[in-house]
Structure formats: C-alpha cells, structure tokens
C-alpha cells in the first residue's frame, strides 16, 4: 500500500520522513494531518534527532494497527468462545503467533539505556502515542518496583523536598514499611 509521505523536523533541525499511515499512530500527528494544517514539514521542538528515529520505528510497526490485538489484551469475557469442538483453534493459533512475534519485537525495541527511556517516554507523551507510552511507562515502573526509596531518588534524580521535621516522620514511615516489606 502506497502512502503519502510526511516530514518531521526534530528539535535540532533534522528532517525525517514517515508514511502517513505510520504517522497516524500518533494522536498529535493524526490531528495535524486531519486538521489539514499540513504545511510541508511538521516541527517537533520537544523531540531530538536521537529519539525521533526510534519513535518513527515504533510508528512504522504500529501504524494502521487498529486494535486487532485488543481481543487478547482484554482477556475478559469472550462470549464466542466455548470449550467445545467447534471452537476455531486455527484462528487462535495465528493470533498467538502474531502476539508472540510482537512481544519479541517489543523486547528488542526496548533494549536501550535509561536516558533513552526518559526521552522516549516524554516523546510518546508529547506525541500521544498510547502504545509507546504504555510500553515505556511500564518499563519505568518495573525499574521502580522492588527498589528502596534511596535507590529510586538516586536513579531518577528525585530530590527529597521534605522539611527536617517532615523528614523525621518520613524516616518512621520508611522503617515501618521496611518491616512490612519483609513479608513479600
């Protein structure tokens, strides 16, 4: 399928090309395209040329994806399914292969350092690419789980902004929950 080309300009003035169908994976770009305000190049002052190719790679993979994976993701009530012989196993297998392939792709795609993760997360947020935002945010969450508060502050450059009095109180909380933690 041929598609109109869209040009995106990064914050450091580099221009990248993307198919319109792929660009539609971004809610922000989709609105610009549909709004008819498309005037040659779309400037993206919040996305650098380090990150933009990564974003485009994601959009290429997911552009035109209108939620065929929803069925699996929902996991809830699927009224067509019965544990009876007439249940379409072939269709189910194909879907499973597709989902497995996508998972493998995501795993390879997400293999990068923490700085890229921040930038990609912010780009996904700015461009409203829900799938990419979910992916990056989930990764950030997994980096927080199981860490100590100190490690988190250090890792994510967060400053503790409590007053000394509050700090005292917080130390009590930390101790209390460290005890709780022993049960997990």
């Amino acid at each position: 399928m041929s598609s109109t080309k869209i040009f995106l300009k990064s914050s450091d003035d580099k221009t990248f090309e993307i198919d319109e169908t792929a660009a539609r994976a971004s809610e922000t770009l989709k609105n610009i395209i549909d709004g008819g305000c498309l005037d040659g190049v779309i400037p993206l002052p919040n996305v650098s040329s380090n990150i933009l190719p990564k974003v485009i790679e994601y959009c290429k993979k997911h552009g035109g994806d209108n939620g065929s994976s929803k069925k699996i993701a929902n996991g809830g009530v699927d009224k067509d399914k019965e544990i009876l012989p007439d249940y379409d196993e072939e269709e189910d297998k194909r879907e499973k292969v597709r989902v497995d392939e996508l998972k493998k792709w995501e795993e390879e795609y997400m293999d990068f350092d923490q700085q890229v993760l921040y930038d990609l997360m912010l780009a996904a947020n700015y461009l409203h690419i829900k799938g990419l935002l979910d992916l990056t945010v989930e990764k950030a969450a997994s980096m927080i789980r199981g860490r100590t508060p100190d490690q988190i502050r250090e890792n994510f450059n967060i400053n503790s902004d409590f007053t000394p009095e509050e700090e005292e109180e917080m130390i009590l909380i930390e101790d209390e929950w460290d005890d709780e933690w022993a049960f997990d």
Partner: protein
C-alpha cells in the same frame, strides 16, 4: 542524627527545592506510579512530597484502582483464622497440598501474607471470632468484638461502625458494597428481631448512622453473594411456587429486585444446584446440569433476561477426579480471568477448576475456613475518609484529605 548534620541536610534540601521534585511531567509520573502495587506506593511516600501526597489524592486513587482492576492479576482470597487475616494468591495454586499440619502452619505464616492487624487502633487483643464479611474496592468489612468495622489493610485506615441501637437481635446476613451511581460505600445487615426480619443500612461518610430500610419478603439464601453493577446478589425462594430466583439489592437506591434465570432453564432446573458469582464485572450463574456437567452462564447486559449467555461448560469426567462427592456440595465462589472457577467444598476447601486446561488446582494449604468467611480481595488505596473514593471527589475534599494526612500516616 545530630543537630548540626540535620541543619546541613535541611539547608541542602532548601537549595534543592528550587529544582522540581521529579524529572517527569506530572501526568507521566502519575502514569508510572499508578502501575505500582499499593504497598510499594505506601513505602515510597518518603521519596518526595509529591509522591507522599499523591496516594491520598482521589484522582490518583481512582486511576490506580482502575488500572488494578483492568489487570486483575492481584486478586487474592482473604480469610480470617483465629483473629488473624490471611491472604492466598489464588493464581499461584498448584496441584498438590502441603500435607502435614506443621508445614501448613509454616507456609501460612510465611507465604500467606498476614495482613497487618491493628491492635493499636483501639482493639487491645485479637478477637478469635474475627470474621471477614465483605470485600469491595480494596476495603474489608469485618465483624469483631460484636461489632462491625471497615479496614483498608494496606493503608491501614480503619473505622469502627456504630452499634445498632437494638437490644436483642441476631444477625442473618451482611453485605458490603459500593454504588458507582451514588459514589457511596454501604453496609447492609439483615437481622432477626422478635421473629421479624429487619434490614438496616449504614452509609460510609461523616456523621452517618444506621437506617432501617424497606426489605424484601422473599427468603434470601445466605450463600455466596456477588457484588456486580453496584448491587449485591443472592438466590431467593419465591412463594408460592418456591422456585429459586436471583434477587439483587442495589446499594444506590436501596431496593430489592428479582432477576430471571436463563430462558432454557425449566422449573425443575430451578431446584437444582445453582450459584451466583462475579465474573469480570458480570453477573454469572454456575449450574450443575442433570447429566453432571458444570455450566457457567453470564448476564451480558445487566438486568436483561434475554442476555443470559452460556460462557463455557465443563464435562463431568474432569470433575470425577475429585472423587464421589455429591456435586451439589461444590459451591462456586468466583470466576477469575481465563475461565478459572474458584469452588468451595467442605472437605477440600477452596480449589480452582481451570476450564481451559480442563484441570483442577489446589491451594498449597487447606486452612479451616468456610465459604462464608472468605472473600476475594484486591489491594487499593481507596480511603475511608471520603464517601466514595473510587469515582473521585471534590477539590475541597481533596484538600481536606491532604490536611488530615498526618493522621492518615500515623
């Protein structure tokens, strides 16, 4: 920490406060944190002020709650035993029991997390008769010391409900639920007073007291009572035919309503073993057929009797592995995702029937609990302070909550 060090630390904090607390925009930060377990969030309050305040903000509580219910892999079976509350992760059921009593006790104490129980909240000892009578939105309704109380076991918020101002009565049934329409948590108690049945309702909120409401004349069977669509459901005997029909109590308008069974059910069917359960937010009906099969029906469109749809059935041979126990003794308890049914039987306790794998799984322990003393439970940040907490609250309430935070943490 000595004084000078503390001062230094404080100064450093003063300087650093100019820099924003976090590198993330707040919506991204909330998105990340909403994916963490409640216990992590409670622990990470000490990371920075923002994180500390977030766990009491109703929009975040709601966001976190909605995400947990979507994923729904943290559902646990909670039960009380000798004054302590235990939880079992039902998804982690295996095929084998731990056999000896000593090993069981060890496993229970170490692996089934004991929810913190609050001796320092006005109860000076554990009540061996402690019972869990309801679970909803991460809050537990407990019966202990001859009274009722509500507890969020993770945030440790706790509230004792006032006693009913009646001298002599006996409890017949309780229900605890939430109405999304009115954004209220309520407790319903059904009691017997001098041979009459009375229905009393308590609404969680400030200055609340028990109210006598109009009940139902139908006889309610106090089996498992699933909470679906803001209403609690039982089976009830309907005179004069004595047929069995589902009956609901709506926590919003506080009315009882009879529901219908699937059309294909005959009059004889209604006297067979049936049980109502919750399944992915739908009202479901488990049914043992004449030929020994086990069927699960789902009311796809709540309140519409045409919408009962057979979800799946399990043929008799799979169940025969359980021995010659009469099938009516298996009570359905709830349905997990992926067509796993939690069943209860007096000797076996709780176990899982996996309709996809066509296998039966047991918990690693066989605690002495009955089906009325256990509930499904999902951890949440939902607070007892606001009337609801799941469907949001006003800016003012939010500010009040933040002000009260000191007590909340304490």
């Amino acid at each position: 920490m000595d004084e000078s060090k503390k001062l230094e630390k404080g100064k450093a904090k003063q300087l650093s406060r100019k820099i924003s607390c976090s590198v993330f925009p707040s919506d991204v930060e909330e998105n990340i944190l909403s994916r963490l377990p409640v216990k992590s969030l409670m622990r990470f309050r000490c990371v920075c002020k923002n994180w500390c305040n977030l766990v009491t903000k109703s929009h975040f509580i709601k966001m976190h709650f909605n995400r947990s219910t979507q994923i729904k892999d943290g559902s646990k079976l909670v039960f009380a035993d000798e004054g302590k509350i235990y939880s079992i992760d039902v998804e982690a059921y295996g095929k084998q029991y731990i056999e000896t009593g000593a090993e069981q006790k060890d496993y229970m104490d170490n692996q089934c997390r004991i929810l913190p129980f609050l001796v320092d909240r006005g109860w000076d000892c554990d009540d061996p008769n402690l019972r869990i009578i309801g679970s909803c939105n991460g809050l537990l309704c407990l019966y202990a010391f001859s009274g009722l109380c509500l507890l969020n076991p993770v945030t440790k918020e706790y509230k004792r409900l006032p006693n009913l101002e009646i001298l002599e009565y006996s409890f017949k049934d309780y229900a605890f639920g939430y109405s999304p329409r009115t954004d209220e948590h309520k407790v319903l108690v059904i009691i017997e007073v001098n041979g009459d049945t009375d229905f009393w309702v308590y609404t969680l909120g400030t200055n609340s007291s028990w109210r006598l409401i109009e009940g139902t004349k139908y006889k309610i069977h106090p089996h498992n009572h699933p909470l679906v669509n803001g209403a609690i459901h039982w089976m009830a005997s309907v005179r004069p035919s004595f047929s069995i029909l589902p009956i609901s109590f709506d926590f919003g308008d506080e009315k009882f309503r009879l529901l219908s069974l699937p059309k294909s059910f005959s009059q004889e069917d209604t006297n067979q073993s049936m049980g109502l359960v919750e399944s992915g937010g739908f009202l479901s009906l488990c049914h043992w057929t004449d030929d020994g099969n086990f069927e699960v029906w789902i009311m796809m469109d709540y309140g519409d009797e045409q919408s009962w749809t057979k979800q799946f059935s399990v043929v008799e041979p799979i169940l025969s592995g359980l021995g010659d126990l009469f099938r009516d003794f298996f009570r359905p308890f709830c349905i997990l995702k992926n067509d796993k049914v939690v069943l209860y039987e007096a000797d076996l306790g709780f176990f899982i029937l996996d309709a996809v794998k066509k296998e039966i799984f047991f918990p690693h322990v066989r605690p002495q609990i009955n089906q009325y003393g256990a509930e499904m439970y999902l951890e949440s940040l939902v607070s007892l302070r606001t009337d609801g907490g799941v469907d949001g609250s006003s800016e003012q309430e939010r500010r009040e909550m933040e002000q009260k935070q000191e007590g909340f943490i304490g």
